[in-house]
């Protein structure tokens, strides 16, 4: 167009565009990454906690912010998963294993100044079992018959029946000590006895904790801890590379770890968790009600291939509902070695025809979605027709977990030492075994450590033999943090980011 060409002279659009670009990029130049002061920490997590009360919600994120930092229980789980004294200095257990007498620490105060004594223990435990309790692990407290206070610094807890894991359970986030004065407002303004107090929470972005100078024990080296929430794995990797955050203890994208391993600025730690990743089967729905079919599936699934293909090689194969770091672990990984021919024979014996459809429901976590892809490919090899159905978390909870409306699903059971779920009358995978229930009862009531260990082994063997679910692998904890940080937890025996012992090296 001729007009157009004429107009081009002295035409200012180019200049306008140049100015616009310059404005966009201006100021970008001013920077200056200040060296992080040595007593602050910026830690990142994938998910934001919905609130700050671990006694009224299941989200791991609540514990990953508050456990041991803000709140403490009578006992405390350490980085190795062992029970340590917490607000109880020590305890004695009666010979019948029904009475626990806790000697409480004296002079402990909550962040709001309220005193900690036996009345708080009584309040916390009674609140957890009350009819209107919204404790996500109410079952942990179910064995408690009564809590009494002979004096302010002694708490006597009596049980209805022996509970082998009681001291471990009372170290969970769900069992922390809550002051009657602040119990109602802990969701938004958490008040505990821990070495850090809650400072503020910019919803959707960060929580800031600061050192509690009135703490009863050794004061932490860090004066302040900022916990940021970054849900996008690629963006998280970029933020670490850029030095915006100091630590990402539970890093969501293991496939990107290699490039951090070779970078001397970072420590990359592959640790363990209590997460048992399994392909749950609906044990009452044909053909999964036939043990031969369940065993066939176990033979058809190459656990190593899943760990390598879906988890970048991180995670240890398991053969029962127990992880290698749990006490009394028995290695049953090779109960059903990877064997396509054997799987086909077992399926044929059970009358499962080639081309039988099997629907595998996948909740959102990446481990489930990725393992599902590998498992689908493996099951095709034995002639089954797997169909993957990705599902939102809320829908999974409703349809699979609550209503047991599923064939198979992939899920990591993150609660530590939860062999009890196979002894329940009603649980989503519908495993019913009187023998297992009897064994579990025997274990709960046994008081001899050697016998307990033996029974734990029996329980695992029974599960491996019945194979109610296909046991896949223990979920690894993949963490990245600055090479100058000391005292980070390598493993996650329970969901936590205990930073009370963290410090910066010179």
């Amino acid at each position: 167009m001729r007009e157009g060409r004429d107009m081009a002279q002295g035409f200012s659009a180019r200049r306008v565009a140049a100015i616009a670009l310059a404005t966009a990029l201006a100021g970008v130049v001013q920077v200056g990454t200040a060296e992080a002061a040595k007593d602050t920490l910026i830690l990142a997590m994938t998910l934001e906690p919905p609130h700050m009360d671990p006694t009224a919600g299941a989200a791991s994120a609540i514990r990953e912010v508050t456990y041991a930092n803000i709140y403490e229980g009578l006992t405390r789980i350490d980085a190795k998963g062992e029970v340590q004294p917490g607000l109880a200095e020590n305890w004695t257990v009666s010979p019948d294993a029904l009475t626990y007498t806790f000697k409480l620490r004296a002079g402990v105060k909550f962040h709001d100044g309220a005193a900690f004594d036996c009345s708080v223990v009584k309040f916390s435990y009674e609140r957890a079992v009350a009819p209107d309790s919204t404790n996500a692990q109410k079952g942990l407290f179910e064995p408690i018959a009564a809590t009494s206070c002979p004096d302010a610094n002694t708490a006597v807890v009596t049980l209805k029946r022996p509970a082998a894991n009681f001291l471990f359970s009372m170290g969970w986030g769900d069992a922390v000590m809550i002051s009657p004065a602040s119990a109602a407002t802990n969701k938004t303004n958490p008040i505990g006895t821990g070495p850090f107090r809650f400072k503020n929470w910019v919803k959707g972005d960060r929580v800031v904790l600061e050192r509690n100078d009135a703490y009863w024990g050794a004061k932490p080296a860090l004066a302040s801890v900022t916990i940021r929430f970054m849900s996008d794995p690629s963006a998280a990797a970029a933020a670490i590379a850029a030095g915006d955050i100091d630590a990402f203890p539970i890093f969501p994208a293991p496939e990107t770890l290699d490039r951090f391993k070779t970078d001397p600025r970072f420590t990359v730690k592959i640790g363990t968790t209590a997460g048992k990743t399994i392909m749950s089967l609906n044990n009452t729905r044909p053909p999964f009600n036939d043990v031969r079919v369940r065993r066939a599936l176990a033979h058809a699934i190459d656990k190593r291939a899943i760990v390598d293909g879906a988890m970048s090689g991180f995670g240890a194969p398991i053969g029962s509902h127990y992880v290698p770091t749990d006490p009394g672990y028995v290695d049953l990984v090779n109960t059903y070695p990877y064997d396509i021919a054997k799987a086909k024979v077992l399926l044929a014996e059970a009358g499962v025809k080639p081309g039988t459809p099997i629907t595998i429901t996948l909740p959102p976590p990446p481990y489930a979605r990725r393992s599902g892809e590998v498992i689908a490919a493996l099951l095709q090899q034995v002639g089954l027709a797997p169909k993957l159905v990705p599902m939102e978390w809320a829908q999974w909870l409703e349809q699979v977990f609550k209503n047991s409306d599923f064939d198979a699903t992939i899920i990591s059971h993150t609660e530590a030492r939860d062999l009890d779920i196979y002894a329940r009358d009603k649980y989503y995978f519908n495993y019913q075994s009187p023998e297992y229930k009897a064994l579990y009862k025997q274990y709960l009531e046994s008081r001899d450590p050697a016998q307990q260990t033996a029974l734990l082994g029996e329980l695992q063997r029974k599960l491996a033999s019945d194979e109610p679910n296909v046991f896949l692998f223990a979920l690894a904890k993949t963490g990245i943090w600055s090479a100058k940080l000391r005292g980070m937890w390598d493993n996650n025996p329970i969901p936590a980011n205990d930073v009370t012992g963290v410090s910066w090296a010179e």
């Binding site: 659009a13 970008v28 919204t134 959707g204 963006a235 809320a394």
Partner: protein
């Protein structure tokens, strides 16, 4: 004009009512229970029942809908199930991030696109045109979240000029806050600018063929003045329409971009709220978003009247 405004007001209220009913029913029908999301896999049935009662979810459906709308009418947005704080407070905090982000993105895309589009039109078929349209073609095809990641890589990792994500907070001053918004705003703006530049170009080209432009040139008006005084204003109507549409699109686009940049804005809030079945937050936000889209459309109509006085007279009804 008054009748027109009255009509718009009626349709505004009607649209909001329909939106509120639809979102309420959809959230009801959607499988998933906020209480089981909160209490997870270890929860006992009695704990779930206690929590449902605490949240008021045990009341009849109709009663909950009517109470919700009635409270909305008096400005009470209710309390978030998951966060246990007033929804108005949550939204209030997050608007302070999403609104500046949207304005920045729209401003940036408009400032880039209109001059570039006009420039391309005025040099149709020549190097400048081909260059602008070529870049625009790429811009239209690139998804904004991917662009966001590239920007993070360039300007936060390789060149440590800007933060890789997160929001510094306005309490630290305007500049630290703005710095956190630059990359996300660019990521949102560039794909939109590409679309807008193409629309501007074709719209200006149409107008340049009109008789009155030829007349203006014939009576001796300089080509530059003919373009800016006669052609561009007449070419703006479709451009403003697209900007209006893009604003609504931005509200959705921020859901993804805010996740990529870990910005605690409205997009991320609604995303989390849907996943956690924080029903009340989702319901409130959908009504608010529907309301703001309608308001923007109204604003676009008013801008038409300013750009083109003929519309104000002719279509006043």
């Amino acid at each position: 004009m008054i009748a027109w405004l009255g009509w718009r007001l009626v349709s505004f209220v009607a649209t909001l009512l329909v939106a509120s009913l639809v979102v309420f029913l959809v959230m009801e029908v959607l499988p998933g229970d906020p209480a089981s999301v909160m209490l997870g896999m270890g929860a006992r049935p009695e704990s779930l029942a206690a929590l449902r009662a605490q949240m008021g979810l045990d009341e009849p459906l109709l009663q909950r809908y009517v109470f919700w709308v009635a409270r909305l009418l008096v400005g009470d947005f209710g309390r978030s199930y998951t966060y246990s704080v007033p929804v108005a407070e949550l939204i209030g905090q997050r608007v302070l991030i999403s609104a500046p982000l949207a304005i920045l993105a729209i401003g940036l895309s408009t400032l880039l696109a209109i001059p570039l589009g006009v420039h391309a039109a005025s040099r149709r078929g020549r190097a400048g045109d081909v260059a602008v349209m070529g870049v625009a073609q790429i811009g239209v095809s690139v998804p904004n979240f991917w662009l966001g990641l590239l920007l993070i890589l360039c300007f936060a990792v390789w060149l440590p000029w800007l933060p890789a994500g997160g929001f510094a907070g306005w309490d630290k001053g305007v500049w630290p806050g703005l710095r956190s918004l630059i990359l996300p705003a660019v990521a949102l703006a560039l794909p939109q600018a590409a679309i807008l530049a193409r629309v501007t170009r074709s719209s200006v080209l149409d107008v340049l063929r009109a008789d009155y432009v030829r007349t203006a040139l014939a009576k001796g008006v300089s080509p530059r003045r003919a373009l800016w005084r006669h052609a561009v204003p007449n070419a703006l109507i479709p451009v403003v329409t697209i900007i209006g549409l893009q604003f609504s699109f931005l509200l959705a686009g921020t859901i993804i971009i805010e996740n990529v940049f870990s910005l605690p804005g409205l997009g991320r809030l609604i995303f989390q709220a849907i996943a956690q079945r924080d029903l009340i937050v989702v319901e409130d936000m959908v009504v608010l978003l529907a309301g703001s889209v309608i308001l923007v459309n109204l604003l676009v109509d008013l801008v038409y009247a300013v750009i083109d006085p003929r519309l104000a007279q002719g279509e006043a009804r």
